[in-house]
Symmetry: C2
Amino acid sequence: MSQIKALMFDVFGTVVDWRASVAREAEAILAPKGFALDWPAFADGWRALYAPSMARVSAGERPFVVLDDLHRENLLVLLDRMGIAVLSPAEIDRLNHAWRRLDPWPDVAGGLARLKRRFILATLSNGNIALMVSLARHGGLPWDVILGAEVARAYKPSPEAYDRAAAALQLRPDECMMVAAHIHDLRAAAGRGFRTAYVHRPDEFGVSPEGRPWPADEFDFTVDSFTALADRLGG
Amino acid sequence: MSQIKALMFDVFGTVVDWRASVAREAEAILAPKGFALDWPAFADGWRALYAPSMARVSAGERPFVVLDDLHRENLLVLLDRMGIAVLSPAEIDRLNHAWRRLDPWPDVAGGLARLKRRFILATLSNGNIALMVSLARHGGLPWDVILGAEVARAYKPSPEAYDRAAAALQLRPDECMMVAAHIHDLRAAAGRGFRTAYVHRPDEFGVSPEGRPWPADEFDFTVDSFTALADRLGG
């Protein structure tokens, strides 16, 4: 592990709690208009449209578009399904930018500050550059560099997303460690030669009585926080 | 000026003192091998090959290549001209990476810390991503995002370099301010609709008795340091 030079972070779910934050933002905009919804379910419904919309890009069915635009298209689908037709275009934009105001999990700031002493900290998210910059300023996230889908012009888990992130830093894949709360992301990164760290985020999709299962022991590190990752990596 | 959301910085000469730093790095590698050169002149000679090498890319005579690679090609030309044939490929790489270890001017850290409170801080340099990340970590530069030639796949002063930087942040050009010590860079940015701030760096090319002339009053701000820019912008 001593050759690792850069940590590359998934962001939605791994760094920030998108579900609670989107629920809060949706409530702030829609409750004053008389809607009383299950706000976390609203966030889940929006999120459920995310993977299929990126898959169309990855399959070559449409040219690359940034995630902000996919989020907006998906929001229009969701609002239509729910029969919500009261929002102006400016209000839709504001609601769409809920994804730029997501709060980090509590261990993130302390963990990143320690890890930054020793490693290059990069985002390797499907979020676009403007969105990542907003999240970083909102949450005080000390990234050295914003990489990911917009820089690579490819969405994870496409191989190009990982390959181009390592290439942008002029690093070999085994000098890069993918940090994510999602098994499919880590497996795709490992398939391109990255090291991997799984971070357990049991509440990403809401608190459930039985909890989220831990993965089998297939990654280089399996931890429950960024501070635990810093303990393991010596940051 | 109240609509400005992002400051986009030229780096070589504006943020960092490339001449003194490259001179120091060249001396550290070549002096132990018995060379006693005019080290600042060595830096100047290397730098003189920079603009013509980028111009070939901008003219479409060759595909886009990152600045690290142009620097290395130019170093080989310079070493050949000077009859220096004692360096191994690894030593040439190390000398080439002198450009990743450039020191900031003394006002930079304090000025950027103030400006960051209010504005997105982006690099808009011809340097590549890995080089910019190294400089930031070397000099403690708190960029929010690394933009510029490698992200745009175009070298300044090509219009695409400016247009794509604003687009990456989803900002209008007049929400972006180019900060540079070079008139041609600022004029090109203004031509794409950016606001402009000239920062006077009289010693960039060495101390001369008569000093470097100040430009005519053609930019939105004309200052002598990043702290003076923070005074003017209210950061």
